[in-house]
């Protein structure tokens, strides 16, 4: 292995920045998966989770841009500009770099739709945003497959950590969605539960009329106010 010289600097930079980008994308992905209107991260208000998701994704975009530009600039292996965006056209590591191009294109779609979000319908924005669930795994495979950096040593541990975090977040989210009780049901449960407790020990259901009842089942005939 050669040392870092002026001619090899972009090559090493691209590889190192690629690793950082993977960590950032993992952070974006985990926060994105956890963002839920009812959900909270411990110690963070909801707007902070959303803000963190947005800001880390912009940071990740910067790193990915540098990763791609340095990879193209580098002369150690020849990667044409078009291969950065058109999948499976590179001579070098055609399949693994192709995955990188796929991930890049998907991310571009995510970012552009988010930037012009107020001109789109929420349905369209949301539909495109689901592509993140394709984009991250593809980017991860690109990272693991395209170079041997992530295939051994501490960086393999890092890659495994990233995969574990995303998988755990998705599983947690799916489990939370399965447990989700519609708000109307939750509130009415709370209300009936409370009415039972506050009702001075009497069972809530026995002989009582429904919420918003008019005339009571009292002994006297209802009398109108005159």
């Amino acid at each position: 292995m050669n040392g870092i010289t002026a001619s090899t600097a972009p090559w090493y930079a691209s590889r190192a920045i690629g690793v950082v980008a993977l960590v950032l994308l993992t952070g974006v992905m985990v926060l994105g998966v956890l963002i839920n209107r009812q959900g909270r991260l411990p110690g963070l208000p909801q707007f902070a989770v959303t803000g963190l998701h947005r800001n880390i994704s912009l940071l990740a975009v910067t790193f990915i841009a540098i990763h791609v530009v340095t990879a193209i600039m580098d002369t150690y292996v020849s990667i044409p500009v078009t291969s950065a965006v058109v999948p499976f056209t590179s001579g070098y590591e055609r399949f693994w770099l192709g995955l990188g191009a796929v991930a890049l294109d998907l991310m571009a779609a995510l970012i552009v739709t988010s930037l012009v979000r107020r001109h789109l319908s929420r349905k369209l924005w949301r539909g495109v945003h689901w592509l993140a669930y394709v984009s991250w795994p593809v980017a991860f495979l690109h990272g693991v497959g395209a170079s041997r950096d992530l295939q051994r040593g501490p960086l393999l541990g890092l890659a495994a950590c990233c995969a574990f975090l995303v998988a755990a977040a998705v599983i947690w989210r799916l489990a939370a969605a399965a447990r989700e009780v519609p708000r109307a049901r939750r509130v009415s449960a709370l209300m009936s539960g409370h009415a039972g407790r506050a009702g001075s020990g009497r069972p809530a259901a026995s002989g009582r009329t429904a919420v918003g009842a008019g005339p009571s089942a009292g002994s006297r005939k209802p009398t109108a106010v005159s």
Partner: protein, 447 residues
Amino acid sequence: MSVTTLPMRGAGPDAVPQGPPVGLPRLLPPGGHVPEGLRDHLARHGALPYRGGCLRLIPDIEAAGLTGRGGASFPVHRKLAAVAGAGRRPFVVANGAESESASSKDVSLLWLAPHLVLDGIQLAAEAVGAAEACLYLHAGPDNHVAGALQRALAQRWNARIDRVAVHLAFAPPRFLAGQETALVNVLNGGLALPTYTPPRIFERGVGGAPTLVQNVETLAHIALIARYGAAWFRGVGTREEPGSMLCTVRHADGGPHIVEAAIGTPLSGLLHDDLRGDGTAQRTQAVLVGGYHGTWIPAARAAQLTLDNAALRNAGAALGAGIIAALPADRCGLAETARVASYLVLESAGQCGPCLNGLPRIAAALAELAGPRPGSRALANIERWAGLVSGRGACRHPDGATRFIGSALTVFAAEIGRHRRGVCSATTRAPFLPLPPGTATSDEDWS
């Protein structure tokens, strides 16, 4: 001073003289229920009086003393000046998304006098220097209104009346969708959820631009003030609260009526058949002023009050968005309030502690009071919890809900006593206050 005229009467358009409208109605077209087209609008009010520059209209608005008609009664000139001075090119939103099912004055105005509102949007946009504007309203059952507005906008654009392009934006059918931070979230492509302020929307709103949100009725008043001047505007109303306002009046016998009334009009004039002038209740036991974030007032008290914040303040009430509902004597006020309270709980965004934990408990205890033989602690619990939820949260939903519920506890105190003995004075359980069907079950119901 207190001119009471019901708008749905009067002569046909041909009989109306040109020039400033004399008396009332001012906003709604005279002579009935027919929407006023562009030609009739121009014949009645003349061309749109652009001022030819930013800020120039604001002194007129200030002299007129116009306040916001969306509920908060905030001075309009201060909002205009704040947005105009915010430093970036602002965005203007006409808020026609009245979310309360008890109110229909905004949609009526948009249907009957669309061009007055659209004039107001142009004038407000010019006053603050905005290049973009939108009209925010509920879709769904009001789609014929949206279609008519779309045609009116196209007609004005082709006639080169409008200088700023206005597009329509639609609110989800949620109670909070018209709240201004929720509105900004919708226009930014998000869910109709209120957010914490600051930043205030006049600093940072739609697309990050300073955003002016005005109720559609307020904008229609702006269009009239720009034409006929502040002195004309002050020709009706009180000195402190000049002008007229649209009210949704719900009589004890049912149907809602849209009434344009001078501010300061006696409530007994609006509810002439429901309240006797001498203060004795006829067929009405209480009057709800200001809607579901408003206040119950006993009928006898209401008969002595006038339609202005100065008078209503003494009764703990405010004009709000002009909802006046006379509760018939044959209904249970507690049951009505409990039904609306449950709706308010389900319509909360569920974001902040007061709405998530406080309001459901309050509504449950109120439901208990509305039923036979409530527990002894329910009343004290509501009062304690109401104190805990007020003044907190991202929006004023908990404050409004507790004001509404708290006034019911006072006004219907005797009824609580009857319920404790297992008796209710109501003879019918048919619901009186209108509630929309359905509640949100997923996030998509907020978009």
